[in-house]
Symmetry: C2
DNA sequence: ACGGTCGTTGCAGAGGACGCAACGACCGGC
DNA sequence: GCCGGTCGTTGCGTCCTCTGCAACGACCGT
């Protein structure tokens, strides 16, 4: 909509790939060097880009501060956090909280496993949307047209033999998830890691977040992990109750 | 430098305080609603702001993704990480890695304590710059004029009785740190938490990052923590060696 | 010393951003 | 149920500001 801002913002993902000098930025934007310079300076003043000692530009620290403040202001996260900690104390495994936003699912909180083997994931990192248990819950609750649109637009990486293969299969999976009110990922992302997840709902019953417990096979088998399901669901319901203002959570939709 | 971009970027910190509607954004920017709308739309297209269900705007998910990619591209971090993990395995305490950037010191990596009592901190979160051990190392190495300028510009919050009280005291502390080649924070931020830190240097000898081990009094006393200093320094030197391309690290400056 | 590359500056012209005013949707009060 | 108020949205004409050019200076390697 606004050409100047549009160009300036296009610099950010470009720099996210790695540091670049003025010429490279100007080229990739398709503008004159002087124009790129002015844009970079403005971004620099706001701390969004940083100029390292070799004069090349890379993303700046303010970006972290902003992302940080943003995540701390999410009220679901604030309410859910103590519940996640308690769940982690009870079962010992890694606990995640995730939300859906504009075609992406991302973790907004995490409590690490007490076992030495830890999953790689990080707050703010986009989730493997076609296989993660939390993603299934969040997508399953989207209004039908949007869900279809999103699912059609996705890629279906073949992480493992049990990864969701294509859009049709995913839609079927989502239907199941919506009915049963919980989701799992049994080795669909990494061969040896399983998750079970349950939804957190708002006052209107819509799913606002999803919570999962993950553990590698070497610690507990998939079957053992599934025995935690009632605990996970109880925790998610407790968060729902608090988040939606003491409205008791229903078991299924 | 560029008015339009400048205005657009000013929206981000504004929204970081919490969600706002169009009118509020326009007011705080001092522009017409239609202008604010155009800017917000552009930000929205790039995923930097998100429009929640009540139509108000807040920061968007792309911000996390960008911050994430940025931190993953930091080569110091990549090299240091395995060393941090090993150090954590050896001593069990929380390990941090931090860098300095434009008047701020921020954590870029962290390995959590294996003890149940954990510090509150998060990757990307700006550090308490007047007291943190890592901040002392990074500031101590700045060129004299910049160091003075930064130190003068800081606030000196009175976190505890042992917090750095003012600029003069901080400059003295930094001189000491520079000479001894390591730093500590003994209850200067939180009464019951102590840290020891050591610098990671680039090929030119400049401090590019700092690494610390933190532990609460209830786990180890300050004196006990200080016995870990040699281990911390050895780890930092190992990172330095690898980062600066096998150049052996010197013990002091 | 020289050509090459790269970042930076000043300027004039034109393209785009700005604010205005008016519309439509929504809400709450009378 | 009507009506005033608020809020987001749209189209448009004017003026601002962003743009690209060209020239300069710094730096590097040949």
């Amino acid at each position: 909509m606004s050409q100047t801002v549009d160009r300036a913002l296009s610099i950010l993902p470009l720099l996210a790939e790695g540091p670049a000098d003025l010429g490279q930025v100007a080229d990739r934007l398709g503008v004159h060097k002087s124009t790129a310079l002015r844009l970079l300076r403005t971004l620099h003043e706001h701390g969004l880009v940083y100029r390292q000692s070799d004069q090349r530009y890379r993303l700046g620290a303010r970006l972290f501060a902003l992302a940080q403040q943003a995540v701390e202001n999410l009220d679901v996260r604030e309410i859910a956090h103590p519940h996640l900690v308690r769940l982690n104390e009870e079962c010992g495994h890694t606990v995640h909280l995730a939300v859906y936003e504009e075609n992406e699912v991302l973790y907004i909180d995490k409590v690490d496993s007490r076992y030495p083997v830890r999953m790689y994931s990080r707050i703010g990192k986009p989730v493997a949307i076609t296989v993660a248990a939390v993603a299934k819950l969040l997508l399953a609750d989207l209004p039908e047209p949007e869900r279809r649109a999103v699912v059609d637009r996705l890629d279906y990486p073949h992480y493992t033999a049990r990864s969701t293969p294509n859009a049709a299969a995913y839609l079927r999976e989502l239907a199941t998830v919506r009915e049963q009110g919980w989701a799992s990922d049994l080795g669909g992302h990494e061969e040896s890691i399983n998750c079970v997840a349950a939804p957190v709902r708002g006052a209107d019953g819509r799913v606002v977040a999803a919570m999962s417990v993950s553990a590698p096979n070497v610690v507990v088998t998939a079957d053992e992990l599934l025995t935690l399901l009632p605990l996970v669901r109880r925790t998610a319901d407790a968060i729902t109750r608090e988040y939606s203002g003491n409205t008791p959570a229903k078991d299924a939709v």
